[in-house]
Symmetry: C2
Subunit: 268 residues, 2 copies
């Protein structure tokens, strides 16, 4: 299963952000690519007070483009996330498209990001967004995949549920920052892969000095044994990586963690 | 809260293993030490087929010694673990003693270690031991503490339960090996601390070239932000570390993770 990830420098110009995705697929040899993966808020700046200005419905202009690209290039797209308008609310939502261009599902970010670290970073999505209330596991021709967004990854309960529901690859479009990124990004992503014995594919926007939110970058792909297969730097990058899905069963045979759960003991 | 940890080279001679603990406390200035922490199977080799030979009851000779040491030195002891005989069964159990010498609780390892990595390591505790069936959270004068043993740490459900039950420090007597240790030990321990915003204190025996099981060593203490406060090497070592318990509330205010749980969404 071959993955192409884009770690784009996102600007205030939505059409420029979308054109960057289109151009990537024109420039790359995509015949053997199975999944294109985009990061959280790939079509607009990660600034909570602006999400409403950029919000659109799903389906809408952004997913129309992704649909065309998925079908033109015959690949799945995990469409990072966009601000989704639905009724009077805005969600942080990740649309997933199959190679026919069909939207096969979307994940609405469940856990909204709240951080209050004086002198470092303050951010509160919950003032501007509504949270989703469903775990997202979707069937693909490579087996089931899980999708969650950024802060969702801090809750092992959610990812465990995805693994138990059969996810073999968990996609995590994200946008950690230069405070939480260096402290938490890599050990937490590796541990989710180690605990659940799945692949973890986590994308981030590139750092943009001009934006108020300093994304960490460091898009990361981890195998089911916890090994880092590829890690980006902070700047704009594209990454390709091949996932050997047989590795999942190999690791699960080695350490039968998911067969050793004792739900009758856990107090959660 | 000051912690003294011993990473002992464990031999086949139980009295020698116990004398090592006694001597440590004689040699150290223990007046300001609050907790002595020992590793998994500190009184016998970590060899599953021998656990029955070394097994004793709790209370029994080993906890009698720990009781005397706790009271003589006025400190808590997280007594690593020992093979505990109870009825016809043997458990992998961690006794905890208070500064009066009283056994205030014990944790029986819940998840028994099974690994089958051909050419690297094969081990199956479940053939020789019975598993416990209770989460262990104990009150101390420093607040609640959680205790789990080695393979238990691979199950985030268990540690989350301990944190929700108020644990501020989670003790993990363990004995990872030279295969799983380098691959998993540090990221998993750091992530448990990051997710639950508690201190994590994980002890290991030293590596002993003469024993069939090659312990990883690397006893580790992590703060609630995921920073490693101290890490041992592979050999015999004693470590001291001071835990600033105010850090817990500081980190929980910074990122209110435990207030953001959505149990209604999790499928586990």
């Amino acid at each position: 299963m071959k993955i192409l990830m884009l770690q784009p420098k996102v600007t205030e110009d939505k059409s420029e952000n979308l054109a960057k995705v289109e151009k990537l697929l024109e420039d790359e040899k995509t015949t053997d690519v199975d999944f294109l993966v985009l990061p959280e808020m790939f079509n607009c700046p990660y600034e909570a007070e602006k999400f409403d200005d950029y919000a659109e419905e799903i389906p809408g202009p952004t997913t129309d483009l992704l649909s065309r690209l998925a079908s033109d290039h015959d690949l799945y797209i995990v469409g990072g996330s966009i601000p989704e308008r639905s009724g009077g609310d805005v969600y942080n939502s990740s649309p997933v498209l199959d190679p026919t261009g069909k939207i096969i599902g979307k994940h609405r970010k469940i856990h909204l990001f709240q951080v209050n670290y004086p002198g470092k970073i303050q951010f509160d999505e919950s003032k501007y967004l509504k949270g989703g209330n469903e775990q997202t596991v979707l069937e693909t021709k490579f087996g089931a995949i899980g999708v969650a967004i950024c802060y969702d990854l801090r809750f092992p309960e959610l990812l465990r549920g995805m693994a138990k529901a059969g996810s073999r690859v968990i996609f995590l479009p994200a946008a950690f920052n230069t405070t939480t990124g260096p402290a938490h990004w890599k050990p937490v992503l590796r541990t989710r892969a180690i605990d659940n014995q799945t692949f973890v594919v986590a994308g981030s926007p590139a750092r943009n000095r001009e934006s108020s939110y300093k994304a960490y970058g460091h898009s990361l792909v981890v195998d089911p044994w916890g090994e880092v297969l590829i890690e980006a730097g902070a700047g704009e990058e594209k990454l390709t990586v091949e996932l050997d899905l047989d590795k999942i069963d190999e690791v699960r045979k080695r350490l039968p963690l998911l067969d050793s759960l004792k739900p009758e003991v856990y107090s959660t």
